[in-house]
């Protein structure tokens, strides 16, 4: 592949960045348009003469997330006829559904079409952890405000991949470490590096460990000791159910708060008394009927029939979009402690 040839590039965008619409269009299926549209124009701008965006594949985030394998297969079938030298997906920033499908599509295009692919997203996007080993994912900010800047590194890495040039270290090229190890010769012996690292650690200076810690340590699975008939079950959700007015001020994005809402004496949730600030999906249907998120009606019936011992009188709720790992872990811990103190035996957590 000569550096002077103009590369054929296909972009992948979701319904929003592909300018079909917002959440209300999240269910649209895969489609392809000629040339660059929406955010893809930034890609074309950065490519300049080095490449042409010959086509853009667009798909709704919900369709892609819910159909997963089928959606990816349909999209691969749309990419193939364009005969691209490179696929650029996203960037997805912090949008979780978008990031996951960007990763999945890049992985599929690489494996099935043998076409180099690159995508970009922010560090906390679940797509990073799922796909960084298989796909080059450039680190971006959380939002599209700096679209042109974000796209620059994406395109630069994409061009190297397409031209089969040597790819530098994660730090140099701006991609998330892929988790592949390779022996190199360091500039000092391991013993010297160890003493230097310890001195840094003792002095409170930053140090770069040479081995990454496991990102998600395994969680031991508790056993339900009681029978279901004797157990107290609590309902928890990260789908954003809040009482009308959102009295606890749970944030619509990057939540740091959760609420505890009483369902004592309730056999159902009255839609008029609830709201939902969650920005990660279209909340129309769960606002219409909150049971579609927190199944108080069914759970109460199961309690009354004796299938479960007791339905816990408090529902815990937060908004799970772009929540940081640290905050998620903290909120989870606090909720668990409260539930444990109240004698709850098990939790059904509804997640969107």
């Amino acid at each position: 592949m000569m550096a002077t040839e103009t590369l054929r590039v296909v972009c992948y965008l979701n319904q929003f960045f592909g300018q079909l619409g917002g959440e209300e269009k999240a269910g649209v299926g895969p489609q392809v348009v000629a040339g660059a549209v929406g955010a893809g124009r930034a890609v074309q701008q950065v490519l300049g003469d080095a490449g042409t965006v010959v086509a853009t594949v667009i798909c709704g985030d919900n369709y892609a997330a819910e159909q997963a394998e089928r959606a990816v297969a349909e999209m691969v079938a749309l990419v193939a006829p364009a005969r691209p030298d490179l696929m650029v997906a996203g960037p997805a920033f912090l949008a979780g559904r978008y990031g996951v499908v960007c990763g999945a599509l890049c992985a599929a295009v690489q494996t099935e079409l043998k076409i180099p692919a690159v995508t970009g997203m922010q560090a906390e996007n679940p797509g990073v952890e799922l796909y960084r080993r298989r796909v080059y994912i450039v680190q971006t900010g959380a939002e599209a405000a700096r679209m042109l800047d974000e796209v620059k590194r994406l395109v630069a890495l994409g061009l190297k991949l397409a031209r089969r040039e040597a790819i530098g270290t994660p730090a140099a090229e701006g991609y998330f470490a892929r988790g592949v190890t390779h022996n190199v010769v360091a500039n000092a012996s391991a013993a010297d590096r160890a003493v230097a690292m310890l001195l840094d650690k003792l002095a409170g200076r930053a140090f770069a460990s040479e081995v990454p810690r496991p990102a998600f340590p395994p969680v031991p699975a508790p056993r339900l000791i009681k029978t279901l008939e004797g157990a107290t079950i609590a309902l928890v959700t990260d789908g954003g159910l809040v009482p009308r007015g959102n009295p606890d001020g749970i944030e619509a994005l990057n939540a740091t708060r959760y609420g505890a809402y009483s369902i004592e004496g309730k056999t159902s949730l009255d839609a008029a008394q609830y709201d939902n600030p969650h920005r990660g999906y279209d909340t129309t249907w769960v606002k219409q009927d909150p049971h579609r998120l927190v199944p108080v009606d069914v759970a109460r019936e199961l309690e009354q029939s004796g299938a479960i011992g007791k339905l816990h009188e408090t529902v815990y709720s937060t908004v799970g979009v772009a929540t940081t790992l640290a905050q998620s872990a903290r909120m989870g811990r606090e909720i668990a402690e409260k539930l444990r103190a109240a004698g709850v035996d098990a939790v059904i957590l509804t997640s969107t």
């Binding site: 999240a26 269910g27 919900n62 997330a65 819910e66 979780g96 559904r97 996951v100 679940p126 952890e129 799922l130 998600f216 340590p217 395994p218 969680v219 699975a221 056993r223 339900l224 279901l228 157990a231 079950i233 789908g239 999906y281 279209d282 909340t283 129309t284 249907w285 769960v286 219409q288 009927d289 049971h291 579609r292 998120l293 927190v294 199944p295 009606d297 069914v298 759970a299 019936e301 199961l302 299938a307 479960i308 098990a346 059904i348 509804t350 997640s351 969107t352």
Partner: protein, 61 residues
Amino acid sequence: MTPVAVMVGANRIVSAAGIIHPLGNSDLSPDDEKALRRRIVEQALQALRTEVVRPTVFTRE
């Protein structure tokens, strides 16, 4: 988003009915929707009773 749940280490994962209505479906009649909800919740209860040692996805047939 079950792959995310698996990745972070949730041990018992039940596949629900879609992002915008995990425990429902507006295309169904209210009765059918509630029946669907009940099926999913019962599956969750079954999963709670099942001993697992690692993230396990329980799918509906």
